[in-house]
Amino acid sequence: MLDSTDKPAAKKRVILLAGDAERRQLIEEHPQAILVSENLPLRANLSVLENLTVVLQFRTNTYIGEANNTALTLLKQAGYADCAEQRDPDLTYEERFVAKLLRAVVLTPPIILIDRPAQLLPDSNYPFFLNRLLLALEGRFEQCWILDYAWNAPLYSRRA
């Protein structure tokens, strides 16, 4: 397992794994972490804002207005407030990823695990995108670990 920490978002760690078994083991070893994964979709018949609000409201028992404001502030901070009212099938890969990541952020876990970002962001320079997004959300999460395969290591070089 290779481990690297990039400068811009200091709480970000990229963990490069040799294979699927190692990835599964790492996830199992961190049950307190919230996973952002292709296999854990958003609620399809709720908008992005509702997906965040419902989780926040359920966890903290806050009023809907308060939860909406928090969720909208997060979306604005990430630079994706425009997709707040859209539902999952209408989202781009980036918007869907942001919604999933923010759903994890509102739960304030000790660790957020971004599982195989290449699956979540197939048509983009995802290391650059992740770096920029996590930088925008700095202060909103404790630790964010990116789980990727070792063969994608060149993508995380400084020029990528």
Partner: protein, 266 residues
């Protein structure tokens, strides 16, 4: 001989599968009942889902459904009233209408409409949530899907069935008074109407009526949700799940209706 053996095995497998489905449904119904009665289920998020469910199941259709119900009640009242008048039983028309329309037809018609509209939608939604891994996703991020997504639908759906039935009954009673007493006042008076209501809708009849409606409301939400939850994670199973859910729901509603009739008339 081997063909007979294969046929019997297939039949036996089918029967055991159906039995197992009913056992699974009963287990879920019991868990739902406990969950619904538990105060720990409710917080601001779950109450909001309950409100939304009531809005989509009852409030959204209220004007149209009340108008349809009024038209239907009008037809039944007219048919029963004119037939009773023709055969010289007009004094019994009121009681006949209340017994047939208010106690039997309207609760059943309401729940069948909700089953077609909301039950089928709920079954499909839960099946798709299961197939697309949405329920697992909630569980994985520490949100109990039973508490957030499923129980509020049971509560909202049941309240909606009770409320729509109550509205339909009030409309039907008002129409009965209007058509039988107000428009044809030569044989029956408002006093006759009030006395008849007091006699027919006595406490045991009300207990059976609202007990039956409550059971209808519970069945129309619990059965589709349970069927949706037991859908295998393959997209082509979604229509099969809805089909099974609706058939099971229909038989359960008929069973509840028959049990209520048995209690009242046997």
């Amino acid at each position: 001989m081997s063909a007979l053996h294969a046929w019997l095995t297939l039949r036996g497998h089918g029967v055991s599968e159906r039995l197992f489905a009913w056992v699974r449904l009963s287990r879920f119904a019991l868990a739902a009942l406990i969950g619904v009665l538990s105060p720990a289920t409710y917080n601001k998020a779950t109450r909001l889902v309950v409100q939304k469910q009531i809005y989509f199941t009852a409030w959204q259709i209220l004007p149209g459904f009340a108008a349809f119900s009024a038209l239907f009640s009008f037809l039944i009242i007219e048919i029963v009233g004119s037939t009773a008048r023709k055969y010289g039983f007009y004094d019994y028309a009121l009681e006949l209408i209340v017994r047939i329309l208010v106690l039997e037809i309207l609760p059943l018609m309401t729940v069948l409409f909700i089953a077609l509209r909301t039950g089928a939608a709920m079954n499909t939604e839960v099946a798709l949530m299961k197939i697309q891994n949405e329920l697992d996703a909630l569980q994985r991020i520490g949100i109990d899907p039973m508490r957030l997504e499923l129980l509020p639908r049971v509560v909202g759906g049941t309240i909606s069935v009770l409320a729509l039935t109550a509205v339909n009954i009030v409309v039907a009673l008002w129409l009965t008074h209007l058509l039988i007493v107000d428009f044809n006042p030569w044989t029956l008076t408002t006093g006759d109407f009030t006395r008849m209501i007091g006699r027919v809708l006595d406490i045991p009849a009300m207990i059976v009526l609202w007990g039956k409606t409550l059971a209808f409301g519970f069945a129309v939400t619990v059965i589709p949700i349970s069927e949706g939850l037991s859908t295998p994670k393959k997209l082509f199973h979604a229509p099969i799940s809805v089909l099974r859910g609706m058939v099971r729901l229909f038989f359960s509603l008929m069973l509840i209706e028959a049990a209520a009739l048995g209690i009242v008339y046997l």
